[in-house]
């Protein structure tokens, strides 16, 4: 679809949020509570934190929650009744005021969950999700989207991208059919516009390396000592993977209460020792350095080859969340010059 250019007044956002809510859609947006900015359900525009550079966690939980029911079951005396999830109950959701990197994150995630075989739960959630992002006015030292094919005003992944072009106005690019559906439903809130050059209105983020170089370098670096060196201070937690918008690894767990039970899917991380450990005790990735290598290789070598998508959008969340300051951009830069 060709991008439709529109304008929307800041003062109209309040009406937009309210009307989206009354139409039965759930609106999720960055909300700061107890000093933490994360996506939360909002009912009015006042609740939204438009200033944060990025939420602590990505928007991925809107389509890939940290814990999610895959099926439930009921055990009877001599049988088991399996109840599948009701996909029709999955709500329509708007991801509002996320960043372009949040939106871009859904692309590699979608590739994981829908290539070869389709994960219907994920797909339904994504189909029912509309993404209205806002271009970044600010960036911090951890942002590196421009190095991984993104930008502070990147449209990919978003259905509508808003860019603040004045104190009062957002420039709105309607990118997809889903975006157009929102435009059509609330056409009175939007005004026509010509194409606007967004560059002066968004943050400048220097490009530090390119995904092509990383991909090329990795071809010869598997046995390199760089992994030992970089992973030395890694404590082996899963914070990086869990806040990452593109990490899709999960675990499947059963929980039973009496005769009823559920089979859950919950986030998992390649950084954990037990992620790959066999029952026999044999572990293909015994050392933390191997697990760190897997993380980088998966995002910059394996995933591009399997699914033609890089598994990193440059949001810098992993680096911000890391307790031992493993800065992924810095490490990638080191790989690029290796």
């Amino acid at each position: 679809m060709e991008i439709i250019n529109k304008l929307i007044d800041k003062s109209s956002l309040s009406a937009l949020i309210e009307r989206l809510n009354t139409s039965g859609k759930q609106v999720y947006a960055p909300v700061t509570k107890n000093g933490l900015c994360d996506f939360a359900k909002v009912e009015s525009v006042q609740e939204i934190d438009f200033d944060s550079i990025a939420t602590i966690q990505s928007a991925k939980s809107l389509v890939f929650p940290k814990v999610e029911k895959l099926l439930s079951y009921e055990k009877t005396y001599d049988d088991v009744i399996v109840k599948e999830v009701d996909l029709t109950k999955i709500p329509e959701v708007i991801a509002f005021a996320g960043r372009p990197c949040d939106a871009a994150g859904f692309i590699p995630l979608n590739a994981i969950f829908t290539s070869d075989s389709v994960d219907q739960i994920f797909k339904t959630r994504l189909d029912k999700l509309s993404i209205i992002s806002i271009s970044c006015k600010k960036a911090d030292d951890f942002c590196f989207c421009t190095s991984v094919n993104g930008s502070p005003s990147n449209t990919s992944g978003s259905d509508i991208l808003l860019t603040e072009i004045s104190e009062t106005t957002y420039y709105a690019e309607i990118i997809t059919e889903k975006g157009k559906a929102i435009l059509d439903a609330y056409a009175d809130l939007f005004k026509d516009s010509a194409v606007v050059d967004k560059t002066p209105f968004v943050a400048k983020i220097d490009k530090q390396f390119s995904t092509e170089i990383i991909n090329e370098k990795l071809k010869t670096l598997f046995e390199s000592d760089i992994w030992d060196h970089q992973a030395m201070r890694c404590v082996g937690c899963g914070a990086c993977a869990f806040v990452c918008p593109a990490c899709g690894c999960f675990d499947i767990q059963d929980e039973t209460k009496g005769k009823d039970g559920v089979r859950h899917r919950c986030w998992d991380s390649c950084g954990f020792k037990i992620f790959t450990m066999h029952t026999s005790g044999h572990n293909p990735r015994e050392k933390q350095a191997q697990r760190w290598r897997q993380r980088i290789f998966h995002k910059f070598s394996y995933q591009p080859e399997q699914q033609q998508e890089f598994g990193c959008v440059g949001c810098g969340r992993c680096s911000r969340a890391c307790p031992s300051d493993m800065n992924i951009a810095e490490h990638l830069k080191a790989i690029a010059v290796k």
Partner: protein
């Protein structure tokens, strides 16, 4: 509506309280049938998480009982347990888990009557408190939903 019948789980040691409970039975002392006894080698073996597991599995009250001090079959298991209970009770209190629903006691193999009293009084107390809804909701209903 029928009266609320609490589910009470008793974690008891094999050597004293379990034998004591046996004595209650053989002495034909009648006591509340709301209690389900789980026998352990020693109170020192009772992992505190078992208590929360019991609540999570639908218990409304818990009794933990073993040998009197200095009577432990393994010399000191109940002493270690006593400290652990103190600390566990503290953290439960702090985290808002209802410690009125957890009763600790020493019941020796000769105290059949005391066992009946403990069970009956706990039963009465839990009846007053009602079902442990907040924990059951968190540990069961929310998960199955």
């Amino acid at each position: 509506m029928s009266e609320f019948e609490p589910k009470i789980v008793a974690f008891v040691c094999n050597w004293c309280t379990y034998a004591g409970a046996d004595l209650t039975g053989t002495s034909r002392i009648k006591y509340s049938a709301n209690v389900r006894i789980v026998r352990f080698p020693c109170t020192g073996r009772i992992d505190y998480m078992l208590l929360t597991k019991a609540f999570a599995s639908g218990a409304d009250g818990i009794i933990v009982s073993g040998c009197h001090p200095n009577d432990c079959h393994y010399t000191s298991g109940n002493f270690y347990a006593r400290r652990r209970w103190m600390v566990f009770k503290k953290i439960c209190d702090f985290m808002g888990i209802d410690t009125r629903r957890i009763v600790f006691s020493w019941v020796s193999a000769a105290e059949g009557g005391k066992w009946a009293e403990i069970v009956n009084s706990t039963n009465e107390e839990i009846k007053k408190l009602g079902p442990y809804e907040s924990y059951h909701k968190l540990s069961t209903q929310d998960i199955l939903a």
